[in-house]
Subunit: 246 residues, 2 copies
Amino acid sequence: MNPTACMILIGNEILSGRTQDKNLSWLSQALNGIGVSLRRAHIIPDDADIIINTVNDARTQYDYVFTTGGIGPTHDDITTACIAQAFGVKVERNAEAQRILEGYYTADMLNAARLKMADIPVGAELIENPVSAAPGYRLENVFVLAGVPSIMQGMFLHLKHMLKGGAPTESRQLVLLIGEGTIAAEIEAVQTQFPEVEIGVYPTMKEGRARTTVVARGTDAAMLDHVMQRCRAFATERQIEEIKTE
Amino acid sequence: MNPTACMILIGNEILSGRTQDKNLSWLSQALNGIGVSLRRAHIIPDDADIIINTVNDARTQYDYVFTTGGIGPTHDDITTACIAQAFGVKVERNAEAQRILEGYYTADMLNAARLKMADIPVGAELIENPVSAAPGYRLENVFVLAGVPSIMQGMFLHLKHMLKGGAPTESRQLVLLIGEGTIAAEIEAVQTQFPEVEIGVYPTMKEGRARTTVVARGTDAAMLDHVMQRCRAFATERQIEEIKTE
């Protein structure tokens, strides 16, 4: 079994429907690539109690926890205070983080609000932010990242070496011009034969016709190819058209 | 305080990064419009124990719970079995649901897999699916919906009358051509003066320049306008350019 991960997306703007999260799918795919399996995500508001409890539950249940959002300079950025409380440590001005901010901002720009971004829970290891300087950090198995996608992605590249992954998870897919219910029994038979492979079946409509995407995921590439072959075989036998996608 | 809601997004395809969820932002905005406040979302895998526990936690903590995904005809559709277990009731063939499926599918299409979609937890009230027939359902305060966005949206229109909302939540926003840290203190002062309004501050970059979007949310339209006015006033005073958005 690969190491597991949990994501905690912090921010009223996601729950209110204003902002469409893009971090989950990006991070999940990046983790797949290094053999870490994202098993759960929480989307929670800027509420201290909820943040603290969610972080404390997640860090005992999963190998890695990634938070996004709430580490900026404004009043609604409360993640750092909550992380410190979750771990029972203090927040202190971090000399290295301050030096980083001083190198990025001119003296007149580096006001009290921005300096707050150098206040880091005691014991945390900084994570470089190659986009806008203010660092993320790691405390034990919890990685505290920015919510802005480009910054989150930049930070991930700088924390990747801290993760011990397993076998990369790969996937194969097949799109068939048929409703999913018509082929449910055949796919279930393949799933039963290959329990190590996770087979998902997803319906879509295009030009008024039902399509089914069959997705096989797992860490054994040869087995995935075999599963796809089996699905193609019954599709051919039943004269179901395969849609070739780019 | 408006009634609260929790969303449970069920599906390996979201956690694997394959599918970008679009249901949360749509449902959240629809709920805002009728005065129900989405306070939390869980994204969980197709795992029976996790589904059961998450549903049972959520239904005691929030006024309404909405699940999406896992009610189709294939082997990975396990939501209904889990909902029944969470409530300690049986799943039974529902006569009305069967009649609906018989009206939609031709006899040769209505195989055992598709008929499974007429198996509904005992005591549930059906929710019409205007897109592809197979219904969702409500059990107490839990609404079980499809994962395909068009179907989920269609179902919502048919369940809306079952919800008792409060005052619709509105929002106002202002985009300023300035970094968020520069105006953090002024915005915090406005937030302190208007605690009933939720003010969020979101940074973006465009053409290499920092922008800040200030969002005010609440149920009192006049107060929201006043908060925006206060933010515009300090922006004008400090000669910060406002970006007019469409």
